[in-house]
Amino acid sequence: MSSRRIFARPARFAAITPYVWMVLFFLVPFAFVLKISLSQTAIAQPPYEPVFDLTAGWEALKAAFSALSIDNFRLLASDDIYVFAYVRSLTVAATATALLLLIGYPIAYGMARLPKRWRAVAMVLVIVPFWTSFLIRIYAWINILQHDGLLNQILLALHLVSQPVVWLSTDTAMYIGIVYSYLPFMILPLYATLAKMEPVLEEAAGDLGAPPWQVFWLVTFPLSLPGIGAGVLLCFIPIVGEFVIPDLLAGSNSLMIGQTLWLEFFTNKDWPVASAAAVVLLVVLLVPLLLYERLQKRQLEQGR
C-alpha cells in the first residue's frame, strides 16, 4: 500500500470542508432568501406565499414556481425610500471609511515604527476594547454624547461652548460611533503591511533627494496599498449594512439600508420586500468583495 493513499483521503476531506461550509451556511440560506424575495407577502405562517410543499406533489410545486415574480425588485427600484437608503448607506460607508483611513493610517504607522517591545503593548491597546460587549460600548457613547454627558461637560468647563451641544441623534454621533467601532479593522491590516515594510526604504528615498512628504507619497504609501485595500474593504463592506450604530446614534429622518431591512422585517412584516432588499445589498457588496478577493490573491502571489 502506497503512503500516498493514506494521506490522500484526509487531505481531500480538508480541501472539501470549506466548500461544504459555504454551501451549507451561505448558499442554502441565500437560496431561501432569494426564494422569499421572489414571493408575495401574505397574512399567514410563514408570512409569504407561495410556499414550496414537497409533499403536495409535482403539479403543486410547478404552480408554486410559476407564482414567483420579481415584483419586489421593481418596487425597490421605483420607491425612493429604498433608493435613498442604498445611496445613504454607500455614502455613509464611504465617508466613514475615508475618516477611518485618515485616522487609522497615522496610528498604524506610529505603531509600526515603535520599538519592538512597545508594539505588542500598542497592539493590545487597539484590541482591548473588543473585550467589552459592542452594545455596551455604543451605550457608553450615548452616555458621553447626551445633553449632560461627558463631552458637553468638558466643552462647557473649557468654555469652548456656552450651552450644551446636541450630539445625539445626529450624523456626527453616528460617525463617531462607526469610526470608534471599526478603527481596529482599519489599523490592523495597515499595521501588518507597514510593519513588514523595511524602514530602510524610506531612508533610501530620502537619500535620493526626496523630502519627507515625497518619501511618504512615493514609497510608504504605494507600498502600503495592500494594507489600505484590505482595511478599506474590511470597514466599507460591513458599514454599508450597519444597523445598530445608526439606529442608536443617528437621527431617524434618513435611514440606512440595514434599518430599512429591519423596518420591513419586524414592523411591516413584509419578508419578501426585506429579502429583496437584502439580495440587492448583497449584489451591491459583491463588487468590493470580489475586489478584496483579487487583492488577497495578488498579495499571496507576491508573497511567494
Partner: protein, 385 residues
C-alpha cells in the same frame, strides 16, 4: 566620459579648493542611551579617494556612515563637505548618496524607475533623465532588464541596480555600506574589481564600510580601522598590514604571531627582546619609541620561513636572524599555501604560512618533523599591548 557633465547637486562651485579635503570629519560623536557608538572621530578624506572604514561589528563604522548620509545627527562635532558644515542637514539636502547593505531597492518600481528615482527628485528634464538612466544601465551592464522589478533579479543584478541608483545623481561622495556582503565569494571578487575600476573611471570619492579586512585591503587606497567608536589607525593597506599601530590592529588585520616581551636591550639600530615563549628575538627599532607599558613582538605567518636544518646561507647574515627550533604540531593545507603550526623548543607556538610553489609535495613537512623557523629582524614589529 562623465567629467564634462555637471554635478546635479553641487553645481559649478563644486570644484574642490586645492589642499582642502573634500570631507572633513571633526571630533564627531554619537551616543545611543549610554552607549558611545562614535566617540570623537576626526578624519579627512580627499577627493577621488577610495576610503574603507573597517572594524568589527558594533565598532561604530555604520553609525559614522549613517551620520555622513544624514540618517543620524551627531551629538557633537562637525562634518564639513567642501568646507560647508552638513552635520545637521537632512539626507535629501546632501549631495551624498548611499548604497545600502541589502540594497533597499524600491520593490514597487522597475529597474529603470529605481535608477531614475533620484534624478526625478533633482528635477531633471525627462530627456535628461532617460539619457542618464541609459548611461547608468550601460555602466553597470543591466541592458535589457530595465523593466524588471527587483524581485525578478538575481542578487548580483540587484547589487548593480543599487549601485546605478546611487551613482545616477553623481554624488560628490558615495557611501557604500557592506556593498558586497550579500554576494557569494566568486561574485564578490569580480565585483570588487568592477567597483574599483568604476571609481577610478568616474573619479568619484567612495567611502566603503566593511567588516571584511580582505575586501578593505583589496579595494581601498586608505583604510580607517575603528574600534569602540574610535579610529584606531588610518593608513594605506600596506602600512596597516606591515606597520600596525597596536597589537589589537595587528590581530584584527590578518593573522599574526605574537610573543609577549619581558626585557629589552638596545643593540645599535636593533632591539634584543627577551620573550618567555620564543627566547631572545632581534627586532628592528620601532619608529615610535616604546613606552613603559607592556609590549610584544609580532610577526606575520608568511614572513616566517621554515627549513629542515636552518636558514640557507644566501638568506643573510647569521647574526641578523632569528632562528627558532621546533617541531611541526599542526598542518593546514589551504591550496595556494599551507599553514604549519610549529611547537617551539622554548615552549611557544609559531605559525608559518608557506607558499605551495611546487605541485608535488617533496618540500612539505610532516607532523612532528623537526624544523627551524626563521625570520629577519625587519620582518617583525614591536607593538605596545
Amino acid at each position: 566620459m562623465t567629467d564634462e557633465l555637471p554635478n546635479i547637486d553641487a553645481g559649478a562651485d563644486a570644484l574642490p579648493v586645492a589642499g582642502q579635503p573634500l570631507l572633513r570629519i571633526e571630533n564627531v560623536a554619537k551616543t545611543f542611551g549610554t552607549f558611545r557608538a562614535v566617540d570623537g572621530v576626526s578624519l579627512d578624506i580627499k577627493a577621488g579617494e577610495f576610503f574603507a572604514l573597517l572594524g568589527p561589528s558594533g565598532c561604530g563604522k555604520t553609525t559614522l556612515l549613517r551620520m555622513l548620509a544624514g540618517f543620524e545627527a551627531p551629538d557633537g562635532g562637525r562634518i564639513l563637505l567642501d568646507g560647508k558644515d552638513i552635520a545637521q542637514a537632512l539626507p535629501h539636502e546632501r549631495p551624498i548618496n548611499m548604497m545600502f547593505q541589502n540594497y533597499a531597492l524600491f520593490p514597487h518600481l522597475s529597474v529603470r524607475d529605481n535608477i531614475a528615482f533620484g534624478l526625478k527628485r533633482a528635477g531633471l528634464a525627462r530627456g535628461e533623465i532617460a539619457t542618464r538612466v541609459a548611461e547608468m544601465v550601460a555602466l553597470v551592464k543591466l541592458e535589457g532588464l530595465e523593466k524588471r522589478k527587483p524581485d525578478q533579479l538575481s542578487g548580483g543584478q540587484r547589487q548593480r541596480v543599487a549601485l546605478a541608483r546611487a551613482l545616477a545623481r553623481r554624488p560628490k561622495l558615495l557611501l557604500l555600506d557592506e556593498p558586497l556582503a550579500a554576494l557569494d565569494k566568486k561574485l564578490r571578487e569580480s565585483t570588487q574589481g568592477e567597483l574599483m575600476e568604476l571609481q577610478r573611471r568616474l573619479g568619484m570619492t567612495f567611502i566603503i564600510v566593511t567588516h571584511d579586512q580582505e575586501e578593505a585591503m583589496t579595494m581601498a587606497s586608505r583604510i580607517g580601522v575603528m574600534k569602540s567608536g574610535k579610529l584606531a589607525q588610518v593608513a594605506p593597506p600596506r602600512e596597516l598590514y606591515e606597520a600596525p599601530r597596536s597589537r589589537w590592529i595587528a590581530e584584527f588585520v590578518g593573522d599574526i604571531n605574537l610573543f609577549d616581551g619581558e626585557s629589552r636591550l638596545r643593540d645599535g639600530h636593533r632591539l634584543v627582546i627577551g620573550t618567555r615563549d620564543a627566547g631572545a628575538l632581534v627586532v628592528a627599532e620601532p619608529r615610535e619609541p616604546l613606552g613603559a607599558g607592556k609590549f610584544s613582538v609580532a610577526i606575520r605567518p608568511e614572513k616566517v620561513r621554515l627549513s629542515r636544518r636552518g636558514p640557507v646561507s644566501e638568506a643573510g647574515h647569521e647574526t641578523a636572524l632569528n632562528r627558532l627550533d621546533g617541531a611541526i604540531a599542526d598542518i593546514c593545507y589551504l591550496g595556494g599555501t599551507t599553514t604549519y603550526k610549529v611547537r617551539l623548543d622554548t615552549g611557544g607556538m609559531i605559525e608559518a604560512s608557506v607558499a605551495n610553489s611546487a605541485r608535488l609535495d617533496v618540500d612539505a613537512y610532516s607532523l612532528n618533523q623537526h624544523v627551524v623557523a626563521w625570520f629577519t629582524p625587519d620582518d617583525c614589529v614591536v607593538l605596545p599591548s
